[in-house]
Amino acid sequence: MPAVQETIDRVKEIDVDQYKYGFETIIEMEKAPKGLNEDIIRFISAKKNEPEWMLEWRLDAYRRWLTMQEPDWARVNYPKIDFNDLYYYAAPKSNEAPKSLDEVDPEILKTYEKLGIPLREQEMLAGIAPENRVAVDAVFDSVSVATTFKKELAEAGVIFCSISEAVHEHPELVKKYLGTVVPKSDNFYASLNSAVFTDGSFVYVPPGVRCPMELSTYFRINEKETGQFERTLIIADKGSYVSYLEGCTAPQRDENQLHAAVVELVALDDAEIKYSTVQNWYPGDAQGKGGIYNFVTKRGDCRGKNSIITWTQVETGSAITWKYPSCILRGDGSRGEFYSIAVSNGRQQIDSGTKMIHLGKNTTSRIISKGISAGHSENTYRGLVSAHRKASGARNFTNCDSLLIGNNCGAHTVPYIESKNASARFEHEATTSKISDEQLFYVMQRGLDEEEAVALIVNGFVKDVLQKLPMEFAVEAQKLISISLEGSVG
């Protein structure tokens, strides 16, 4: 098992300080004044040079948000957030709409290089076969700094740009789809996002087109006391296919920072969307100081018949994760899948899972969730599977397993299974266990030390999910898992 050996080596070379993306980029930033009110929203909208309808949309969302209460049902504890003590807009000062990479601040380019995300197309090409290329949209705090391979994608008819650009260039598409999957008043954080979202990615794949390369967005929070509110909208028109990757990191700081994103996916007839995430926000230190609050609403709408939406996520970062990527299976014969690995260590708290809402006939869904808790962390799987009256022939299979390493952590499973249709068939199974002494003994007897043995067994435990990740991510994800578990043995 070469991948496993690689993982182990990786663990060894990591310092005690596990988080390697914790550096900060020193760059002059332009910020909106602290706080949140209608003027700030007007400021953001003006900065983005948005049309009137977009501003009205934001203001409407903001007014709805004011009437809402912060949700408290998730199994996470954190001090109350003062939403008026945050910056809602921060952008690199030099970033007055750079026409090409040459105009982008070299500091930012360096940041992405350090993160292993090359933004120069020629660099990306070096040594990579054309079919393995990845187009990247890089979002730095509140703005998109660069989007690569746009030209080539445009030739295929694929639109891949920042959402601010889409508001200008493709208003008809944005108007038609924005907020149709996650409405403005969906929940507290989604409403907040609708009011103040600053950037994110927009993807439109026209009918019958198979997107020629993987699309990817890399989110980076850099500035202090700043919230990141990005919004992603992906539309796969009839018979099209797209695979989208998302990665995130942030500097290491003592304060908690807020990240409240909204992702909307729309799959029309026979379309397929694969959405993969490797979430590696700064998790805070061993005492639970600092780290990102990750309150995210992700939802896919299988609007057309026989459409497919697959969510794959590897969650290792963030102090608090509150995230339930969901599928609304509206079209007859549509399919939703959710594969998740959530690793918590230190003082991290994860409350994550999915919703599969079966509305159409013969819809199917599958949920595979693996939770690993170590240190003093709490890891909760929370999921809903429901079949409505008309969802004849709906099928669901759910498997959620939890693994505990050490006895100062917690693993919880809270599934909701609601069936209103006799011909719907739902199966759910969940287990919690620790790595058994027999397994460890067996592996260590063959000459591996304890840490290597645990890494091997854990990799076996999460294999089902890793196999679903795109190639480039699978390798990265395996490394991340080993990093998160470092120090948990013994």
């Binding site: 809402m68 505990l404 006895n407 919880h412 069936s419 209103k420 739902f426 919690t432």
Partner: protein, 442 residues
Amino acid sequence: MADMERINTPVETAIAEHFAGAKAVLPGDAGARETAFARFAEAGLPHRRVEEWKYTDLRSVMREAAPLAPALADDDAVAALEASPWFAGIEAARIAIANGHVVASASDFADLPEGVSLETTAQALASGHPDLAALGAIPEASENIAYALNSAFMSDGVVIRVAAGTKVETPLHLRFVITGDSAVATATRTLVIVEKGASVTLLESHDSADDVAHQPNNVVEIVAEDETEIAHFRIDGHGSGAQALSTLTAHLGAHVAFDTLNMIARPGLVRHQVFMTFAGEHSKGGVRGATMLGERQHADTTLFVNHVAPHCESRELFKTALDGNATGVFQGRIAVAKEAQKTDGQMMSAAVLLSDGATMNNKPELEIFADDVLCAHGATCGELDDDLLFYLMARGIPRPEAEALLIESFLGETVEEAVDETDEAMREALMGVARTWLAARG
């Protein structure tokens, strides 16, 4: 975003009025009742925004608050008890409770098995019986609204003590009935203390007239000291108009074997709650149930199994058959504390939907803080297996009978697991509930 003050619904106001009228005449410490009622007054009737009551919205279902039932005349009580068929074939010491009050003339108080002592809850409350200190052994139950309401209104029931080392051969049968043409509420509290090394079988049956919206609220608390063996079989035969709340608490010491099985058939609305705490090591607990519903009936079974001590084993198995426009709810939570290493907990809920109007809501939860445990839960729902139906029908069995056979064996698994295989009479008494329901289904 300011919190708004809660406004009482008319039903909540009516309950408060009933309490104001009843507290002076109810036996025992009025202060304790006030405290319990304050808990209710603060929270109000549970509704769908209260997580533990998400699927059983009492606030919207309870349109009236029935007055607390007075004691019946003996003749009326006896007539009602005679009409209650449950466990008739089992030889047992009967304890009769009609409309929430013990009926001594219909009970075998003079003939109790050796080692069993008994007092009515009304007497115990009035005299301040020391055993009552054992009430409320499980704090999570005390916080529950149904339990709090019972504590405020409890009028009668029995307090039973089984002496150390006694093997009680004859089961004790608690027979609850409610009769009368106008709706009444009852609040009964039963406490069973089983001393070290003793064993006992408890039977509990409930009956109330169809079409009358009686509102029984029963609490049975069992305290199992070390090395005891307890079996508890319950038949919920409340009528199709009833809105029944019931709570069972089981506080288990070390090396205890405890089993409870609950059969629910045809109630209007029922919520059965089980709170089981493993407080001592090496105990085994089984919580099982079979629920049969049709029309617009609603049954909710909610469990909280709390592993506090290490080396314990819990088994939960629940089966639900749903017809008509019925709604079944199963919420089961297994919690394992940090100290409860080597816990083995397995929970399963399976439902079969027999019509397109039926709904099943499953919420099996695990909450684990210990790393060396083996816990699992499973939940399924679906229709009867077409292949099995075809197999039976191909052998000349008509469809309705084939369905009945499959449903009976599906529900019967709970009885198989809970009842000793040599105890034919008990199996028949319990499976009889399923057969009666299936026969009525047609």
